[in-house]
């Protein structure tokens, strides 16, 4: 997998949003996301989940791993609302809400993502005033560029 930034797309509402630059350890996460599956790396020997992905289990030092499917439910652990100056594509949709979600099936696993009103809605489609730490959220998948899908988060009670 290339370590240089993938070219940004010039199509659609996400024009020039940054795309993930997977490394070898992270690539399966993005491949599963493209199939609309939220999966987290787990140790094949001791079963511990770990994020971000890495070659070796910090608990038992096994190099064998699996990708365990998550329910996609979680709670907002924290959030931030960026305002410009930002890269142009983000400035155009600011202020938007970035959440860190604690997964219901794995409370120590937290994922950053955007809180949006619908899977393909704009980054600023949820009023930041409606976000609360602890709010229940569920995962959705959004094709940000052809073949590149990112997980996003929807409020369980919009």
């Amino acid at each position: 997998m290339s370590t240089s930034m993938m070219p940004a797309t010039d199509n659609g509402p996400d024009e020039r949003l940054l795309l993930p630059v997977p490394d070898d350890d992270g690539a399966p996460f993005w491949a599963y996301a493209a199939r609309h599956e939220l999966r987290v790396q787990s140790c094949a020997a001791c079963g511990e989940l770990r994020f971000p992905p890495r070659p070796c289990c910090p608990h038992c030092q096994s190099f064998d791993h699996r990708w365990r499917r998550m329910s996609g439910r979680g709670r907002v652990w924290s959030y931030v609302v960026p305002h410009p100056p930002l890269l142009p594509a983000y400035a155009a949709q600011a202020p938007y809400t970035v959440v860190v979600v604690e997964l219901a099936d794995a409370p120590r696993i937290r994922l950053a993502g955007n809180l949006v009103a619908a899977p393909d809605a704009a980054l600023n489609s949820v009023d930041p005033g409606r976000v609360r730490i602890g709010a229940a959220v569920k995962v959705a998948f959004h094709e940000q560029a052809p073949g590149v899908t990112v997980p996003r988060w929807l409020l369980e009670r919009p």
Binding site: S4, A8, V21, H83, A112
Partner: protein, 383 residues
């Protein structure tokens, strides 16, 4: 047991350029000016320099600097990682090199053109030294966005408020207002200005963020035995530490069991273990302030108060001159200059020499810290 670092080395000289939003000279020229000034301050000839220490995101390397200033044969050079987290590590590495006989005169420096130069978060062509694939696509682009997440969680867990962050910004600004070298020397801050300023990344507003600055600083480290020959009162490197906590992740440390106990906690344990005194004996503190919330987090980490008490600690003028712990007495990164924390080291030296523009009477001990949130480093200085 081997040799101890405790008080084995002293900071003998400091130097700096002007601080400004824009300076005409290159980073290399600014670095050389600061280093030459620091050697002059110490009364030590450049040809005596045989050690260099810097930290990452420094564009000026020791080969160029050594050549330009006329250093002698160099037998030690080191570069600490993690940008602003490495500032104090430079002095720590020099002290270790000198204490173990690897070198005799060390120079540490930082030169930056962040005021007029590019900001790293704007670079979309190069993978930044963070787990960028897990954050950048979602618009966590700038350090302020990354720290804003921790700040929000901290406010939620402990009832910290924007007033607490304002206390930090105000203490730094008040000290800068006493320091003619500070960028914010003639720019007082009020609560109303703070509360009505524009957001950068909620919950962080404009005044929660450090300045973008051009400038350079340097200091000279020598063995304590040389102290009697020095031009100025020596400032002893009493204790040093670096800190990279278990399971830590760069500046987006959201994935440990307890993200609110960051690198400060790890560095502090080592720092105090080696010291003859404790947090209650610190007369003045220079704590890395790229963002205001780093101060309450660091106050807890370095043991000035209990967990969750850092915000309340800032109340009642505790961080002002005459308060319980005078903070960032040159104005810090928030109001003097943001030169990746190196100005905190030189201000620590000024306090212990008795020459600060916001002098704490009889200051004899000073804590200096490097960037919190990233793998960090810290120094205890004493006169």
């Amino acid at each position: 047991m081997g040799a101890t670092l405790k008080d084995a080395a002293v900071i003998a000289g400091t130097g700096r350029t002007a601080f400004a939003k824009r300076l005409p000279e290159s980073e290399r020229a600014l670095a050389c000016r600061a280093i030459v000034a620091a050697l002059d301050d110490a009364g030590i000839a450049p040809s005596e320099v045989d050690a260099f220490a810097s930290y990452t995101m420094e564009e000026t390397d020791e080969v160029e600097v050594a050549k330009a200033i006329g250093a002698g044969d160099v037998t030690f050079f080191a570069k600490a990682g993690y940008g602003g987290g490495g500032s104090c590590a430079t002095v720590a590495h020099l002290a270790a090199a000198i204490a173990t006989g690897q070198a005799s005169v060390g120079v540490a420096w930082r030169s930056r053109k962040r005021g007029s130069g590019p900001r790293p978060w704007r670079n979309t062509a190069v993978q930044l030294p963070t787990p960028a694939q897990w954050t950048r696509p979602f618009g966590l682009l700038r350090p302020a966005d990354e720290i804003g997440i921790l700040a929000r969680r901290y406010m939620h867990e402990y009832g910290a408020t924007r007033d607490h962050f304002f206390n930090v910004a105000l203490a730094c600004r008040n000290r800068a207002n006493q320091n003619p070298a500070a960028i914010m020397y003639d720019r007082p801050l009020t609560r109303e200005m703070y509360m009505t300023s524009r957001w950068i990344s909620e919950p962080l507003c404009l005044f929660d963020n450090c300045l973008e600055t051009d400038g350079a600083l340097a200091c000279v480290v020598v063995a304590a035995e040389r102290a009697r020959d020095l031009r100025h009162r020596p400032v002893y490197v009493h204790s040093v530490a670096q800190g990279l906590p278990a399971q830590h992740h760069g500046m987006v440390n959201y994935w440990t069991d307890d993200p609110l106990t960051g690198p400060a906690w790890t560095a502090a344990r080592q720092l105090w273990k080696q010291a003859d005194f404790g947090p209650e004996d610190v007369d003045v503190a220079q704590i890395y302030d790229a963002f205001t919330p780093l101060i309450p987090l660091s106050l807890e980490g370095y043991g000035f108060c209990g967990r969750g008490e850092g915000a309340a600690f800032t109340e009642g003028g505790a961080l002002e001159t005459g308060g319980r712990l005078p903070l960032n007495t040159s104005g810090g990164g928030l109001s003097e200059a943001y030169v990746h924390g190196f100005n905190l080291i030189t201000e620590g030296v000024r306090q212990l020499r008795g020459t600060s523009t916001a002098q704490v009477p009889d200051a004899a001990t000073c804590l200096v810290t490097a960037g919190e949130g990233v793998p960090t480093s810290a120094l205890l200085l004493r006169s």
